[in-house]
């Protein structure tokens, strides 16, 4: 594999009217619980939540499950939730799981905030 090895990381950006959770690396069982906690914690404010996935080279079903929980949380609390700029690897797994139409997918955070 010639693809660069990206360290696993999760970070949070609190912006005006939104919280963006940034993920990087390979999301798998070894830390998907951290991802789940970070995604759910982002719903702390009354804001829109985005999960930025452009630097995610791999995601397994436990990582997808964390995103699904985020979506369920958003529906329950009437807030906006979207996947932001998912990488090809993430898109491929979403398509395989037939979840590519279940999630809102946006190119950047501005698109999440734009009125529908």
């Amino acid at each position: 594999m010639s693809a660069p090895i990206i360290a696993n990381s999760v970070s949070r950006e609190d912006g005006a009217g939104y919280v963006l959770v940034r993920l990087a690396g390979e999301v798998d069982l070894s830390w998907s619980q951290d991802v789940r906690r970070a995604v759910l914690a982002a719903f702390g404010g009354g804001e829109a939540v985005g999960v930025e996935l452009s630097a995610v080279g791999y995601i397994d079903s436990s990582g997808i499950a964390a995103l699904v929980e985020g979506l369920q949380q958003a529906r329950a609390s009437g807030r906006r939730f979207a996947l932001v700029a998912p990488s090809d690897a993430v898109r491929a797994v979403l398509e395989l799981a037939r979840l590519d139409r279940v999630f809102a997918i946006v190119a950047d955070i501005d698109a999440l905030l734009a009125p529908a």
Binding site: M1, E26, D28, L29, S30, Y58, D60, S61, S62, I64, A65, V68, E69, L71, Q72, A89, A92, V93, L96, A97, R98, L99, V102
Partner: protein, 572 residues
């Protein structure tokens, strides 16, 4: 165009004679007709007649340059004297000079101009007074020239006339150039079709791979479009198997055709079960009758019984045979000159007990492959390659040998034939790993799987899906098999049999009841069961059973790999 001509006739001395607007309209029309031309010669003939009328000149001629001989030949002309077929050297006369200098020539008074080549007038009686000649320009230099002779109004040509002819020359040059390129393309396509046909014909001559415990297999890789090499095997009524490997001298289509003839001849000569030496002698006499131009055929022929215990063979100009048994190598020089050189020759014959060993015959394309120092690898190189692949199944070994030869750069057609007692089909082991049953071990495993799948030619999208499926299977074992506290290991093996990929995961966790493993529906917004659903989606099948020693579980995932299926079909 009649209207234009009348207008010109009404004002013969007016300059410019053709008004700019008329000239542009004429040029546009001319360009269009040249651009859509199918029969260029006819279109050019019509075009120069129209140019002659439009410019109101007595004679017009179009010359094309033969790039090889540098001779200009008049292809079409119109006027009182037909000069088509006239040939000039580059530099000769006004036409030759226009091409040599790639510049339009204007001759106002032909009688006093030293550039003019007068021989034409002297033989025809035509009087040339004034000439303009424009080169047919292309990016690669002039490809000819267009020449006009004598204004009908009797006046000498002017710079305006020269400019106008220059404008006419541009679309003509473009049309001719396009037609030539289209012609070259058609010729290339025709050749390619012929080569494709020859290649298919050749491939259809190679025997189909037999899987029912057949001891002989072969592979053939042409270095170029078509091969001069071939192999064949067939069963005799007494149960023996006849085999042939051949190599035609020379390359290209006629070598390929001789190959087709030699292949059928050798099969025909071997069908009677003649001893290999007599078989070759018979084929030799036949090839002598038909081979021409010093072409000859190197061949190895023989018989083997189905259990591959005894091989009888004879060679004609063929590289030595290598026999490998228990780490020891024997070489057998198959004596005798190539077929097609001298009639009535005797060939040497070998009879050897294979006794669990393997018989390798390869055309010189294999031994001529160069190593890093540029030296042919020879038989020693082939032995080293064989040693590297000795554990693999015969089919995988041949594929491995050919792969290594290709990496070293094949320069010649290469054929390998292998004889070995058939084993029950052993799957080929692509990767084996034992990993701790911890989620932290997965990233490294995924990298190893990706590398292995890449190495074995699985395309990226399928590779990533397979990696996902194996990861999901492992994480299920970690989560549900071993549970949170339990420390254990997972033994992974990636196997290939023909086009089928099998991934085997063995754990020593408590036995799992397969009925309890259920996939969730895909596309469903729930968290559970997605892993199993993804495995179902990616793999053709999977099953879980108690491991061999009764402790733990053995999970096997299977997937047919389309690119492997193509490979197998390739090897016939």
């Amino acid at each position: 165009m009649t209207a234009t001509r009348q207008r010109i006739a009404l004002a013969p001395a007016a300059l410019p004679r053709a008004r700019e607007a008329d000239a542009l309209a004429f040029l546009a029309e001319l360009s269009r007709s040249l651009a859509v031309s199918i029969d260029l010669r006819e279109t050019l003939a019509r075009a120069i007649t129209r140019v002659r009328e439009f410019l109101d000149v007595e004679g017009i001629a179009l010359f094309l340059l033969d790039a090889a001989t540098q001779v200009l030949e008049c292809k079409v002309s119109a006027g009182p004297v037909d000069v088509s077929g006239l040939r000039l050297a580059v530099g000769q006369g006004i036409v030759g000079r226009a091409v040599a200098e790639d510049a339009t020539q204007l001759v106002t008074d032909a009688a006093s101009d030293t550039r003019v080549w007068r021989a034409a007038d002297e033989t025809t009686g035509f009087v040339t007074r004034s000439i303009v000649c424009a080169p047919l320009r292309t990016a690669a230099g002039p490809i000819g020239a267009i020449e006009i002779v004598n204004r009908r109004d009797g006046l000498p040509f002017t710079a305006a006339d020269a400019e106008l002819l220059d404008l006419v020359a541009a679309p003509a040059a473009l049309a001719i150039n396009n037609a030539r390129m289209a012609g070259a393309l058609l010729e290339q396509q025709r050749l390619k079709r012929e080569f494709d046909l020859a290649r298919h014909l050749q491939k259809s001559l190679l025997p189909r791979r037999r899987r029912d415990g057949f001891p002989v297999i072969g592979v053939n890789r042409p270095a170029h479009e078509i091969s001069g090499d071939f192999y064949d095997y067939f069963e005799l009524a007494d149960g023996r198997i006849g085999f042939v490997v051949g190599d035609i001298s020379g390359k290209g289509l006629d070598a390929a055709l001789l190959m087709v003839r030699a292949a059928s001849l050798l099969r025909w000569a071997g069908k009677d079960g003649l001893a290999p030496a007599a078989w070759l002698a018979r084929a030799n006499d036949e090839v002598c009758e038909t081979a021409r131009d010093g072409r000859f055929v190197c061949a190895l022929v023989g018989y083997v019984d189905r259990a591959a215990t005894r091989v009888q063979f004879a060679g004609a100009g063929f590289p030595p045979v290598v026999v490998h048994r228990d780490g020891r190598y024997g070489e057998y020089v198959a004596g005798g000159p190539p077929l097609g050189i001298l009639r009535g020759i005797d060939f040497e014959q070998h009879d050897l007990l294979l006794d669990g060993g393997t018989f390798y015959a390869f055309s010189d394309g294999a031994t001529d492959v160069r190593d890093a120092d540029g030296k042919p690898i020879g038989l020693a190189g082939m032995r080293a390659l064989i040693a590297r692949h000795v554990r693999e199944t015969p089919q995988a070994r041949l594929r491995g040998l050919l792969g290594e030869l290709k990496r070293l750069r094949l320069v010649d057609d290469t054929t390998l034939l292998l004889i070995e007692a058939a084993q029950a089909e052993r799957p080929e082991l692509l990767l084996a790993r034992t990993l701790p049953a911890r989620a932290e071990a997965m990233r490294e495993l995924r990298a190893a799987l990706r590398a292995s799948f890449d190495e074995h030619g699985i395309e990226p999208q399928l590779r990533d899906r397979l990696v996902l499926a194996v990861d999901e299977a492992c994480t299920n074992i970690i989560r549900h098999g071993y549970g949170p506290q339990c420390e254990g290991a997972i033994a992974l093996r990636v196997l290939r049999s023909e086009a089928m990929l099998a991934i085997e995961l063995v754990d020593d966790a408590p036995p799992v009841d397969p009925a309890t493993i259920k996939p969730g529906a895909l596309g469903e917004c729930r968290c559970g069961g997605l892993g199993v659903a993804l495995i179902d989606e990616v793999m053709d099948e999977w099953r879980i059973e108690p491991a061999d020693d009764g402790r733990g579980n053995r999970l096997v995932l299977r997937k047919r790999i389309p690119s492997w299926a193509c490979e197998e079909a390739d090897e016939t």
